[in-house]
């Protein structure tokens, strides 16, 4: 998950690289940012989760799959306040798209300057011309926007277990892991020692030191419902 922006309106050197800088930029440029509803796509979902981390000491380790019951009532309300304070600066004073794709479409139409987007979707959109060449990508460096790892499972009693392990070996080769970075804008599944230093230096703006992951469990439905009940309504969009 990263931020995609229009470099013709925002110079790469001015692109926000921390949460505070992002919030300051959003408020200074009302109407130029939009994120999708958190349940309708990972881009908006992880933007909301990054806000939740921000108001809870920027510490992902505080959130575990089974601690919603003890921690939820304390963790979420300040995040809703933070997101509500951003609402008047969103496109149309509090509009939220219903999917990753619509946000990218609005960016491509020049209706907004910046949207949160999946790295692979943004890179693909640039390579197919859906987004112009002038699209910039940036990741927050104080704490990255949440992502998710792709998992491959192999059955111990699988009929073709050896072949499956061979496939896993192939996926972990330098060639494929480099392609994950260059083609998907993803985070490698192996240590940086196993991919070339050039790649690391080239993509250091978009690829953070580590990818934090937000737990699902009870958090997921309560974040989704909480956002719809607290952040989405009560916005004055008549202006």
């Amino acid at each position: 998950m990263l931020l995609a922006y229009d470099t013709t309106k925002l110079k790469p050197e001015d692109a926000p690289k921390t949460w505070d800088a992002l919030v300051a930029w959003i408020k200074a440029n009302p109407g130029q940012f939009i994120y999708n509803r958190p349940d309708k796509g990972g881009a908006g979902g992880n933007f909301v989760r990054r806000a939740i981390w921000e108001v809870n000491g920027r510490d992902p380790s505080k959130f575990t799959i089974d601690n919603y019951k003890e921690f939820g009532d304390k963790a979420l309300p300040p995040a809703w306040e933070l997101l509500k304070s951003l609402a008047p600066s969103m496109m149309d004073q509090g509009a939220y798209t219903s999917g990753n794709t619509q946000s990218i479409q609005l960016l491509s139409q020049g209706a907004v300057t910046m949207v949160p987007a999946w790295s692979d979707q943004a890179l693909q959109a640039i390579s197919t011309g859906v987004l112009p060449e002038t699209t910039g990508l940036v990741q927050l460096t104080d704490l990255a926007l949440a992502g998710g790892f792709t998992k491959i499972g192999v059955f111990t009693n699988g009929v073709n277990k050896d072949l499956a392990l061979k496939l896993c070996d192939f996926v972990l080769t330098e060639e494929i892991q480099s392609a994950v970075i260059t083609e998907l804008g993803g985070f490698p599944g192996v240590s940086w020692d196993y991919v070339s230093k050039e790649l690391h230096d080239k993509y250091k703006d978009v690829i953070p030191a580590s990818i934090p992951v937000f737990p699902s469990g009870d958090w997921e439905k309560n974040i989704n419902d909480g956002w719809y009940r607290n952040v989405a309504p009560n916005v004055d969009r008549s202006k």
Binding site: D92, A95, S98, Q105, A111, Y228, P233
Partner: protein
């Protein structure tokens, strides 16, 4: 339609003709029973018999009480009703002139108009939704045209309650036009000519000759539009605001994103309750129509 002429030809008795008729309708009736009536009953039962903490199923109106006391749910229901009423009115206002034109016009232009009016039938709503963003969205085609004419940009209806209204009206034009045209087929040229001969103007002809004959069709068209719009999903999902949301996206979200089937089914039963009222309108008008024949 009566089966008696067939039985006359094959010389079978009236009784077995009735049996064949019953067999012919058995398949759709069974399908309706299995795929529509049974799920309705099952849905009502699942929302009224809830599992308590001890694991036993007890009668409870809890999910309904929650729905009708929850401001958020009621706002969603309110938006759905508003959208439905506004769409139905706009549809009739837009489609009646088109249907009247197509009924009485002749020539090449009428063929093109008819093609254009039926065209939305062949456009999937997901494609329509994204096309809508391209055309009426911010910096969309309309804004580009306005800009070329040195006019200010529009306030885009995208992600406001008017987004789904515009999309749904466009999507429902073909069905409404077709139903109204079918109704206009029963208005004979002779009666129009007769009214013309005694000096009736266009408004008088519309009001006293045409409208009374197609009032049934208007009711059917309105019922169909209402039923389709009340339960609409894709267009409100893509084009509507995050909150309040229409019942279709609300149900899907409650079911899929909140993992809450009892409340999702309750929302479905409430929506069904509203739709059945319009369904009854439709059934009544069909029955009245058949009696008239």
């Amino acid at each position: 339609m009566s089966l008696s002429p067939t039985s006359d030809i094959v010389g079978a008795s009236k009784k077995s003709g009735g049996l064949i008729g019953l067999l012919l309708v058995a398949v759709p009736v069974l399908l309706i029973g299995w795929m529509i009536i049974y799920p309705i009953i099952a849905a009502v039962i699942t929302t009224l018999w809830l599992r308590n903490d001890a694991g036993a199923y007890v009668f409870s109106t809890q999910t309904y009480r929650f729905f009708f006391t929850d401001g958020y749910s009621l706002a969603n229901l309110g938006l759905t009703l508003w959208t439905t009423v506004v769409c139905a009115i706009i549809l009739l206002v837009v489609c009646l002139p088109i249907a009247l034109y197509l009924r009485f016009a002749t020539g090449r232009l009428a063929v093109y108009v008819q093609g254009l009016a039926i065209f939305p039938l062949f456009v999937p709503s997901i494609i329509l939704s994204y096309a809508f963003i391209r055309v009426l969205g911010p910096n969309g085609m309309l804004d580009i045209l306005l800009n070329a004419a040195h006019l200010p940009k529009i306030r885009s209806p995208y992600l406001t309650p008017w987004g789904p209204v515009i999309g749904l009206v466009w999507d429902h034009i073909p069905l409404t036009v077709l139903i109204l045209m079918a109704g206009l087929g029963s208005v004979s040229d002779a009666s129009i000519e007769a009214a013309k001969d005694v000096g009736a103007g266009p408004v008088t002809r519309l009001w006293y000759i045409i409208l009374p004959r197609i009032s049934n069709s208007i009711l059917v068209a309105a019922s169909f539009a209402v039923l389709g719009i009340f339960s609409a999903f894709t267009l409100p999902y893509v084009l509507g605001p995050a909150a309040p949301e229409m019942m279709g996206p609300f149900m899907q979200r409650t079911f899929r994103d909140l993992y809450d089937p009892p409340n999702a089914i309750t929302q479905a039963v409430v929506s069904f309750g509203f739709c059945i009222v319009f369904g009854l309108f439709y059934v009544r008008s069909v029955v009245r129509n058949q009696r008239a024949r």
